[in-house]
Symmetry: C2
Amino acid sequence: MKLLKSSYLPKGFIASGLHCGLKKSGNPDLALFCSEIPARAACLFTLNKIQAAPITVSRKHLKASGSHQAIIVNSGNANCFTGSRGVSDALGTAGAVADCLGIKSKSVLVSSTGIIGRPLQVDKIKKAIPKLARSLSVKGIKQAKRAILTTDTSTKAFSAKIKISGRAVTICGVAKGSGMISPDMATMLGFIFTDADISKGILAKALKEAVDQSFNCITVDGCMSTNDMVIMLANGLAGNPLINSDKKALSFKKGLSLVCLELAKMIVKDGEGASKFIQIKVSGAKTQGEAKRAGLAVANSNLVKTAIYAANPNFGRIIAACGASGAALDEKKLKVKVSPLKRKGVVIEINLNQGNSSSIIYTSDLTPKYIKINAEYS
Amino acid sequence: MKLLKSSYLPKGFIASGLHCGLKKSGNPDLALFCSEIPARAACLFTLNKIQAAPITVSRKHLKASGSHQAIIVNSGNANCFTGSRGVSDALGTAGAVADCLGIKSKSVLVSSTGIIGRPLQVDKIKKAIPKLARSLSVKGIKQAKRAILTTDTSTKAFSAKIKISGRAVTICGVAKGSGMISPDMATMLGFIFTDADISKGILAKALKEAVDQSFNCITVDGCMSTNDMVIMLANGLAGNPLINSDKKALSFKKGLSLVCLELAKMIVKDGEGASKFIQIKVSGAKTQGEAKRAGLAVANSNLVKTAIYAANPNFGRIIAACGASGAALDEKKLKVKVSPLKRKGVVIEINLNQGNSSSIIYTSDLTPKYIKINAEYS
């Protein structure tokens, strides 16, 4: 397997990005990802009970069609809590993309990120779509990955090249993260493309497994978003024999998991105001769910996060968070080990000594900069 | 009912406080509360699975004896995650108090607050107990309420004077709060004294009801402590006819609820780094549990807290937190109203429009000062 800390689009995928006017900064705020031929799609959405209009529309289009070809993404506005107007705006966006590309509206998926509760300036988007469609190219991924960002300070992309039955298969993912990052589910936007020929069922399963161990294991501020989704498109252009069983999917899953995990780590490292990258390795839990629960409780403790920010070895806070998590534990058996706190990467090892399950959670510290960013963001 | 924003000890109660050496600052760190005659006790403890040694010992003494007479409290060290040595230190503390007062060890309750995971310097405590016992007086409450504080910037006391069948009854509570404040349960230390004659069963019920609507409705940082408890002592010296039914307890419950609620609000107002006092009024919930859940989700959202700190009207964050809470809701029916954010007191009204249950949650904002305090605390 060859890994690239970069966006290397698989065969038949093109992308573009530009500034259409949603962001005041002048930075790119509209991205289009496209497969030259219809592709199989797999999607995961936030579990928040408030779900943004683009999620409603993407769900609808996933139901209505067995193949998909384009993803239109805007940043700067979440198009969430915007009522029926929001839904019609998202539908209109998909329709405009479909018209330009000469495809059906239901094969377009829609995604948004940004501020919640404000009407989408959909006219700006519609006006920009023809130019966006004209700019589609392999190199366009460079602008596209910038256009999906909000408070992120860097783009996030990772690619894996694998061999399946002698054929070169590429998996490429781009993501945005930064704040409002917490399970479940997909605590951010992620778009993953592959030229693998893979059945819809196995693709969905592989994506769920990879996301559970990556995007669902990260937290920046414990705040679950209304807009988050991971969309994956597989167009089959690699020409490999169809992957239609778990057994045949082994190396594909390995590659996909790696891409998701690397993107997830990038999101945490670029967490709002983050100065440290923290790995919380929980072992000896009764179940994997409890391992994750304990790890997330520690990761979401403001007291743990501030202690690590300040390299203050106040380990009692880790213990208190474990105890508050509800995971089965026993004070006498609980073991906690923390790596030197002055370093940029911190590892907290927690052995609950109750069973054989484990989990790794990734998080950042809580710094005055997080407050500054979020005090000013609107 | 007469209410006093101060500590006004009921008949037969005395207290004292001094500096025994646990706090480097030289501030008082050891308090003793005492009833001149044996009193009935009611207690509530943290739900954290890690529980401090003083909780273990207090539970033991509550089981072993039907009446209690003294509470010894130290700040500066939580005596938590300190193993069997911690338990023997807490037992030793109770024993030393019992010896000095000429009472049984099992009628002494023990409470600690401070840093977790460090051995208690029990010799300093034992050495100071004779002087502490000699200083017991009605006026001693002034030092006692200072001695239970940690990062608190002010003492917290509230008293209610009520009439029961023509007899004057006093309920007086003192508390400490500040950080690691979150349900359940008692997210702080609270000591409440009354001279009412009240049966143990009704006392326990009244305390549970009052705490559920006060200390269990506040959150500063969503972090559940390992040491928190509310202890109530009732010595019967008011000479009222015994309160042994819910019906007879009506005005007593009213007074107790008020004392608890006022103390709870004081804790939030003095939350670490707090610059605002936020009330989250959730109505229209399917159940009271869901109302509380939604309110706490909003109260614990770092994004909501930073927005309010900055008077930034980013109401989408309130909506996102509601949706993430798991409480039943419908985007189309959800109504959110927020009072002007520039004021020191902020009211967030959320109507879920799903049912008839409601709840009020009290919290503070998240400020750079919270991080400063917790980065440096150890």
